[in-house]
Each structure stands twice: as structure tokens, then as C-alpha cells.
Point group: C2
Chain length 351, copies 2
């Protein structure tokens, strides 16, 4: 049995190696062309960092499916399940997913009026509102262009594009629900989980299932991998909500407790409200600049007392376990093990 | 020889009939689903009107290619060039293009801080900034989803998606150039025409060439139709710039001369500057609410004196004539004639 710490080391090493390859591929897929300011703004968040968890899941799922050792085959010339079809550019698909992620972050930061992201100014702060809207729009179409160039069979490319477009639609729907929830005080856990599925988990589901689609795997494999992504993606978001309350602000890259201050719904607050907690009274201010660490500490203690943080942690664990079970469609190999460990890591990571 | 007035009648009747069909198809392709506010905002501009010129060009090009009488064949079950392939949903493709157009209008109105569009409040005014960004993003992915459901052969669907994605990228690039031009006073006509090609004409080019792609026409036909779209699309925008100066505000649906007031570059101002006119001095104010009709009249008189409006009109005519020549790849038929007349209409229309 791997302990949580050695597992974290294994996962971080695996993620780190793929991150380097993805980071090298980003400027290849998205060179700074004319108009330069537009492309610089489009690349700004991508170049500022990010763990590349979604590309890592995409690349590792492909390795598990193809039954090859991790990092043993060039991602740019990856074997498909049907040998007659030839190779596909799996790295392109991985970058496409990360580009979609980056587009949503740029537009979300405008909508949520967030000034910081990955420790640097949000794009609308570093540039301006117009450029940030346009940078997001550019990444949007670029993601489709990149996904169209994997060299997959046309029928599989069409299916991949359909998943990508559908994913984007659902992300928009989820973000709309999230914005709507800020104005409501009667959101129940099921609604919250539906919102998280649309806003966050579908892109994990796309990441896990797209390699199977592009490589020509059977539908039941595609569906199981999609389900894995939905489960671990929701778990990831729930854990993110826990981290927002428990990790020091300097490690978070933003004010701890900012979700509470900004009245954002999380599984924790939804549970707490159902258990009689007046969420609006947990912190006095609605200004993240004004909240004190002591106020956040008191709020967290209160949420722990009613069991809301345990509830969120339990839910995340349940989802991860179910997601791992779905991986039974994959052969037993090192990449499969890594996908298991990645799932655990998503809810054990400290930031 | 058709006179300009009877031609306008013919074109308006043809456009009007297709507009009705397109208007019926919009709610079919884009029903108001959950979250309702998001989809209502997404539909707001589409439902507010619009001539549907791009869908009309798409539908008519298909009729010319298939050599069928205008409006004689169901657009939802349209014959392809290769009879083995079966039918395609051409109306879906037409709606997809209009949905892209609507997405760009919503985001452009935010960027340009325009309050009115088609005589109604812009989406960010009627709703709010967050909803307008998200409505545009939703239309973006929906356009791809709709285009993926035409029933075309996968290889042709992939090509169509590639054109659509590439079109969106170019529209973003063109909009970025347009924003950039507002800060510059040394833009030359070639740069302006490049910007207009990207910002406006590529969607006309997509509209004219997509039916050929989906129907499996030869590459030279696709290329010629794309060229037709680029030419008439640029002419359309140049004529739009002329109309901004010459059509009464109540017919325009916005203040006449607003481009001048807001310091927007047009082929007219770029030409005038090259001929010694101080564009910044043409109107005193930079507030569209404050400008008077007399000020706009004086500015227009000045621009006429140096020949800038004639120059723009001549350029638009030259482009339309070249575009019509490109249609020689099409069979001689009624739909072909209508595409000729549509091209003329684009630079003869009064609003």
C-alpha cells in the first residue's frame, strides 16, 4: 500500500515530466503571431504555470489504453488501437484541452472580478477587458483548430470535436449556474454537484475519454473513461473548495476563505446551511482585502463543528473510489496504476 | 439590364423568404434550455432581427451548386454533389454561421462599449457583462455543435469545422487589429482592407464555401466561392462605413457618424488622412450623445471634397465585380443570378 506521501511524490514526478513536454508543445501549437498583443495575452496564463493535470490525465489514459510504458512512446506519434489507422498527435489533443481550460479561466476571472490567477495578475488586469475577452475567444477557436490536426480518422475526429464543443457548452452552463447560485440561499447539494459537473468535471471527462475516441477504442471504454473523468473532476473541485478554507493564503496564491467572503456556494456551505448555519454571518465583510485570518479561522472551526468539511471530504473520497473502479476497462499496467494514483492525488494534494 | 431598384426588390424578396425559414430554424437549433437566463441572453440578438444575409448566401450558393431552382428543395434534406452520400442538413449549416455572427456581435458590443444593436439594447446592457460574455461563449460552442450535425461525410465535416474554427480565429485577429487601429493615426488602406478581411469578410467567405465543402464539391469550386465571399464581404463592410456617414440616424438604428466620433478607422478616414485631412478635427466631440447632425454634415462634405467617399464606393464596386467573376465556377441558373444580384445589393442597399 502506497502511503499518501510517497504517492504524492510519484504523482508529482509523473505530472512534472509531462508538464515539461506540454510546456514545450504550447508555443509550437500556439505561436505568438500577428496581432502580437492578442497572442501574447492569449499565452499569458498558459505561460504563467499550471500543473497540467488535464493533459497529464489525457496522455496517461492513452498510455494505459495502448498498453505501453509511461513516457516510452513519442506523444506526437502515438499508436492507435486500430493499427491500420496509423499514428496520431496525442500531444496536440493534450494542448487543446489545456487551451480550453485557459480560455475559461480568462473569461471566468472577468466574470468573477478576480484580480489574481496563478500568482500573477488576471489577463483583464495585466492587459484590459477588451483584450481579455478577445484572448479567450482566440484560445477557444485555436483549441478546435489544434484538435482538428491530430491526424485521427475523420469519423473519430468528428466525435472528438463533438465532445470538445459539448464540453465547452456545458462549462458555460455550469458557470451560469455558479453565477446564479451566488444570488440564491437555497442551493442543495445535488444542485451544487450538478453545477460542478458542468463547470469543472466535464473537462476532466473530456481529457480522459478523448484519447480513447481518437485512438478508435470501443464505446464502452470511451464511456467508462468519461465517467472516470466526471467522478475525479467533481472530487477535484470539492477538494479545491476545502483547500480554499484550509491552506495559507501565500500557498493558495489568493486570500484563504475568499469563497466565503465572496458568498460563493461550495459543497461545504451548502451542507452547513442545511445544518442551520447562517453562512452570511460566518464572516462579516464581503471584501477579500478586509477579511482577517482570525475571522477565517473562526468560520472554519464553525464549519468543522457541524461536520461540513468532513462531509465534503467524504464525498470527494466516494467519487474518487468510484472513478477508480471505472478504470477496470483498462489493461493492468503502469499507466493504469498512475491514473489510480492521480485520482487519489486530486483529493490529497495540499494546494 | 436590371435597374438598381428592381434588383433591390428581387434581392429583398429572396432574402426575406430565406430569413423566415432561418428564423424558424433558430429556436429548433438553439432551444431555450436550462439555465434559461443564459439561453435567453444567447437568443436575444438572434431574435431581435437581422437580415440573415450570410445564411442567404450559404443557402443560395448550395442551390446554385446543386443546380436546383431557388426554394424548390427542402434545406433540411439537401442533395449533395455525390449522390451516394445522401442528404445534408443545409439549414443547420446556415444557422451555425448566423450563430457565429451573433456571438461576435455580443462580444464586440462589450469591447466597443456600444449600447444599441438592431434597435434594441446590447446584450451586456439588457442583461449584464457576465451574462453577455457567457452568452457569446455559449453561442460559440453551439455553432460548432450545430455544424457537426449536418449529416455530411466525416471527412467533409472535418473540413467544414476547420473552416469554421479558422474563421473564428481570424475574426478575433481582425477585431484585435480594429481595436489597435483606434490608437493609431498611420493606418494605410492595405492594412484597413486586411483588417476588414479578417473581421468581416471571412464569415462571408465561410458562408459561400461551406455548402460546397459539405456537399463534396471540388477544391477549385470551394476556393472560388471562398474568394467570392472574401470580395463581397469586404465590399459589404466598406459600404457599411459609407452608410454610417450618409444614412439618417433613425434608419441606421444608431447615431449617424458614430465611427468618426469614436475615432474608428474606415477606408474613408484612412484615405482622407492620406490626402491631408486632419480626421481628429472633423468632429469636435468624442461623445456620440453630443454630436450634432450639422457637425456630421460638415464632416461628410469635407470627406466628399477630397474624394474619400468616392474612393470607398469605387473600391467596393471593384471588389463586387471581382467577386461576381469568381462565380463562373457555378452552373448558369437562377440561384447563380441571385448570388450576382446579392453581391450588387450589398453595396447598393440603403441601410
Amino acid at each position: 500500500m502506497t502511503t499518501s506521501e510517497t504517492r504524492e511524490e510519484t504523482v508529482l514526478e509523473a505530472v512534472g515530466k509531462r508538464r515539461e513536454l506540454v510546456n514545450d508543445a504550447v508555443p509550437e501549437e500556439l505561436p505568438v503571431a500577428r496581432p502580437e498583443r492578442l497572442y501574447e495575452a492569449s499565452r499569458y496564463l498558459l505561460d504563467a504555470g499550471g500543473k497540467r493535470l488535464r493533459p497529464t490525465i489525457l496522455l496517461t489514459t492513452a498510455e494505459a489504453l495502448a498498453d505501453v510504458d509511461p513516457l516510452s512512446v513519442e506523444y506526437r506519434e502515438f499508436p492507435t488501437v486500430d493499427e491500420d489507422v496509423g499514428e496520431i498527435d496525442l500531444m496536440g489533443a493534450a494542448v487543446s484541452v489545456e487551451v480550453i481550460q485557459s480560455f475559461t479561466l480568462i473569461h471566468d476571472d472577468i466574470m468573477d472580478d478576480d484580480d489574481l490567477r496563478r500568482g500573477v495578475p488576471a489577463v483583464h488586469q495585466e492587459y484590459d477587458l477588451e483584450t481579455a475577452i478577445l484572448a479567450g475567444d482566440t484560445l477557444y477557436s485555436k483549441a478546435f483548430e489544434i484538435m482538428l490536426e491530430t491526424g485521427a480518422e475523420p469519423s473519430q475526429a468528428v466525435e472528438a470535436l463533438d465532445v470538445l464543443a459539448n464540453t465547452c457548452t456545458q462549462i458555460c452552463e455550469g458557470q451560469a449556474l455558479d453565477v446564479d447560485f451566488e444570488r440564491r440561499d437555497d442551493v442543495v447539494p445535488e444542485e451544487y454537484l450538478e453545477m460542478v459537473e458542468q463547470k469543472t468535471a466535464v473537462l476532466y471527462a473530456a481529457s480522459a475519454s478523448l484519447p480513447a475516441i481518437l485512438m478508435g477504442a470501443d464505446d464502452d471504454v470511451v464511456d467508462a473513461l468519461y465517467g472516470y473523468g466526471l467522478d475525479v473532476g467533481r472530487a477535484f473541485q470539492i477538494h479545491d473548495d476545502v483547500l480554499d478554507l484550509t491552506v495559507p493564503s501565500d500557498e493558495l496564491g489568493k486570500q484563504r476563505g475568499s469563497d466565503l467572503v465572496e458568498n460563493k456556494q461550495t459543497l461545504i456551505t451548502v451542507h452547513a446551511r442545511e445544518h442551520g448555519v447562517d453562512i452570511d454571518e460566518l464572516v462579516d465583510t464581503d471584501d477579500v482585502e478586509a477579511v482577517t485570518e482570525a475571522e477565517v479561522d473562526d468560520a472554519v472551526a464553525h464549519l468543522e463543528t457541524v461536520g461540513s468539511i468532513d462531509y465534503a471530504n467524504d464525498k470527494a473520497r466516494e467519487l474518487v473510489d468510484r472513478g477508480k473502479d471505472r478504470l477496470e476497462v483498462l489493461p493492468d499496467n503502469e499507466a493504469h496504476d498512475l491514473l489510480d494514483e492521480l485520482a487519489d492525488y486530486l483529493i490529497e494534494r495540499g494546494y
